[in-house]
């Protein structure tokens, strides 16, 4: 009897451990019969190319069996890669750098956005932000702890604006303070809710503009395509095929000639957003992913290094991570 209880506790513990690790058995480095691709967010315009690849056979034509899984606030592609539950994923640059700082064995195989969609919307009537110095005395919305805080603080530091010269306002999902005019600049994703808010404001007779940190030399990288180092080392062909498939799909999805197909596809997965809004979101996305002289998927090493520098300066990471080592060269 005395020995029965510890044995029972041990067995129960083992059972819990085994059930918890159910998803950990398939390690990232092993060749996967089926590949899981974890997106960063729910299906919307930011996943247009991913959906396009899945629906139009870009994966299967390269012999890949890929399951595209939507992301969300509780989903973290990097963790899923490490746990072997996904082989590819989308993560923001700050997530990648934080993970590298903690020893996560991940590599970036493509940079989806060439310009960060995280920007600030403002009422353009009577306001002009030709320089960040014009933010002095303004109320600027930021999500404390979020990327926008890091970007805004970097911008303020770069232009030598003391934090107390700007009124930083904690924002959430509720845009009321912006609509009421209590906040001058509100952080939004330019190609997603930025379009919706601008439309609403236009209907109310108010013109809007977007404050773009990239234009002021604060280039903070956004979403990128990632995989694990072991996956890359053990299955470079699979990684190459996946990346090529996805970038080709994005290329086609962004092509103006295919706009109707892309809009219809995104609308099928994101029925809450009207097709005409998706059309505008598509135009904005195209500009962010394919700027002039840009190439889709290009990894902007300098921008990544600046992103790391910003994070280091703001104490988000404790020591350098040499992010360039985790960026896959174009030649794979």
């Amino acid at each position: 009897m005395n020995g029965a209880l510890p044995r029972l506790v041990f067995l129960l513990g083992l059972l819990v451990l085994v059930s918890l690790l159910g998803g950990c058995r398939q390690r990232g480095g092993e060749p996967a019969a089926e590949l899981n691709y974890r997106l960063k967010w729910l299906y919307n315009i930011n996943t247009a190319g991913d959906l396009y690849a899945q629906e139009h056979g870009f994966f299967t034509s390269r012999g890949l069996k890929v399951t595209v899984k939507p992301g969300g606030p509780e989903r973290d592609a990097i963790r899923e890669l490490e746990l072997g539950r996904a082989q590819f994923g989308v993560a923001s640059a700050d997530q990648v750098i934080r993970a590298l700082a903690k020893g996560a064995p991940i590599v970036v195989i493509a940079q989806l956005f060439q310009q960060n969609p995280l920007q600030w919307i403002y009422r353009s009537a009577g306001a002009c932000y030709a320089s960040p110095r014009q933010l002095r005395g303004k109320t600027v919305g930021i999500t404390f702890g979020g990327n926008d805080e890091t970007i805004m603080r970097a911008l303020l530091a770069k232009y030598r604006i003391a934090p107390d010269e700007v009124n930083l306002f904690s924002v959430r999902y509720d845009y009321t303070p912006f609509y009421r005019g209590e906040v001058d600049l509100w952080p939004i994703y330019r190609n997603a809710e930025g379009i919706v808010i601008a439309e609403k404001m236009a209907k109310a007779g108010e013109q809007t503009g977007f404050f773009v940190p990239d234009l002021f030399a604060v280039r903070f990288v956004a979403n990128s395509l990632i995989t694990t180092r072991s996956m890359l080392e053990e299955n470079p062909g699979v990684v190459r095929s996946f990346r090529d498939a996805l970038l080709s799909a994005w290329q086609e999805a962004m092509a103006p000639a295919n706009a109707a197909r892309t809009i219809a596809l995104v609308h099928a997965y994101d029925q809450g957003t009207p097709a005409e809004i998706i059309a505008k979101q598509l135009d904005a996305t195209r500009q962010l992913m394919l700027p002039e002289n840009g190439r889709l998927g290009r990894i902007d090493v300098a921008a990544w290094q600046q992103t790391e520098k910003i994070m280091l300066e703001q104490g988000v990471i404790d020591s350098p991570v040499a992010v360039e080592k985790a960026l896959l060269p174009d030649g794979l």
Binding site: L21, R27, D76, R79
Partner: protein, 254 residues
């Protein structure tokens, strides 16, 4: 009592932590997925003071919200106690309203009241209010025939006396329900802070999750657990004092 509560929590917490570390080291996961011991230690040192203030802030709001919920549930249960149309309506409304998930209601509250203290208080109170109300209605609506009969037939029964009799006879249940709902008040406050407030440990948790910093989350969970245990112990001691004062202990000894 304090020792028991705290040791229960610490055992569960460190078992969970041990399990996480076992997973980490068995599968060679990075500190990003599951933080290592040193990482947790460094994080704890870095954020402990700030998180301690945040958790005390949360506890303060939770206690006030809890008291408000108890007061409101008592009043509504007294009003809804009789087996008449009003009582039935109140019971039905309570059962239906508690079905609404707070995450759906909270944004409306934040829009109406802003992201300050009132919203946190209200959400904390709402989360622990309905379980309290349903229990209070059950207890205060159930006659204690063996005691009430005399007062009814001799024309002495007043609503205050009726409530007193039913509350006294069910004091153990009431104390258990109040103590149990304390955790809900704490959870409610944290949820409110997580969703929309700009202070408290729930807000700190949200930032930690934004930053994918599980070490911070674990430190926050530790502090939440410790202070929740302390609050429960305080309530249990209060319950003991109330029972002693009302002479309930003598009955249980009997």
């Amino acid at each position: 009592m304090l020792h028991k509560r705290l040791s229960q929590f610490l055992i569960i917490y460190f078992l969970g932590l041990g399990l996480l570390l076992a997973v980490k080291y068995c599968f060679g996961l990075s500190d990003y997925v599951i933080p290592g011991f040193t990482d947790m230690q460094n994080t704890a040192q870095a954020v402990a003071a700030g998180y301690l203030r945040a958790v005390l802030d949360t506890l303060g709001v939770a206690v006030i919200g809890h008291v408000l919920a108890i007061a409101l549930a008592t009043v509504v249960a007294i009003v809804g106690r009789p087996d008449n149309l009003l009582g039935t309506m109140i019971k039905t409304a309570a059962y239906n309203l508690q079905a609404y998930p707070i995450v759906a209601v909270a944004p409306i509250i934040f829009i109406l009241l802003g992201d300050g203290l009132p919203s946190r208080l209200l959400i904390a109170a709402i989360i622990c209010y309905f379980p309290l109300l349903l229990s209070f209605i059950g207890i205060l609506g159930e006659p204690v025939a063996g005691i009430e009969h005399f007062y009814v037939v001799t024309g002495r029964m007043r609503w205050q006396l009726e409530v007193k009799i039913r509350a006294f006879e069910n004091i153990h249940k009431l104390i258990t329900v109040v103590t149990g709902s304390a955790t809900l008040a704490m959870v409610g406050t944290i949820v409110a802070e997580f969703i929309g407030a700009d202070s408290g440990i729930g807000y700190s948790l949200r930032i930690a999750l934004y930053q994918s910093d599980i070490a911070k989350v674990l430190v926050a969970l530790f502090l939440i657990g410790v202070f929740n245990s302390l609050y429960l112990v305080a309530l249990e001691l209060l319950g003991l004092a109330v029972r002693k004062r009302m002479g309930v202990e003598q009955r249980t000894q009997q």
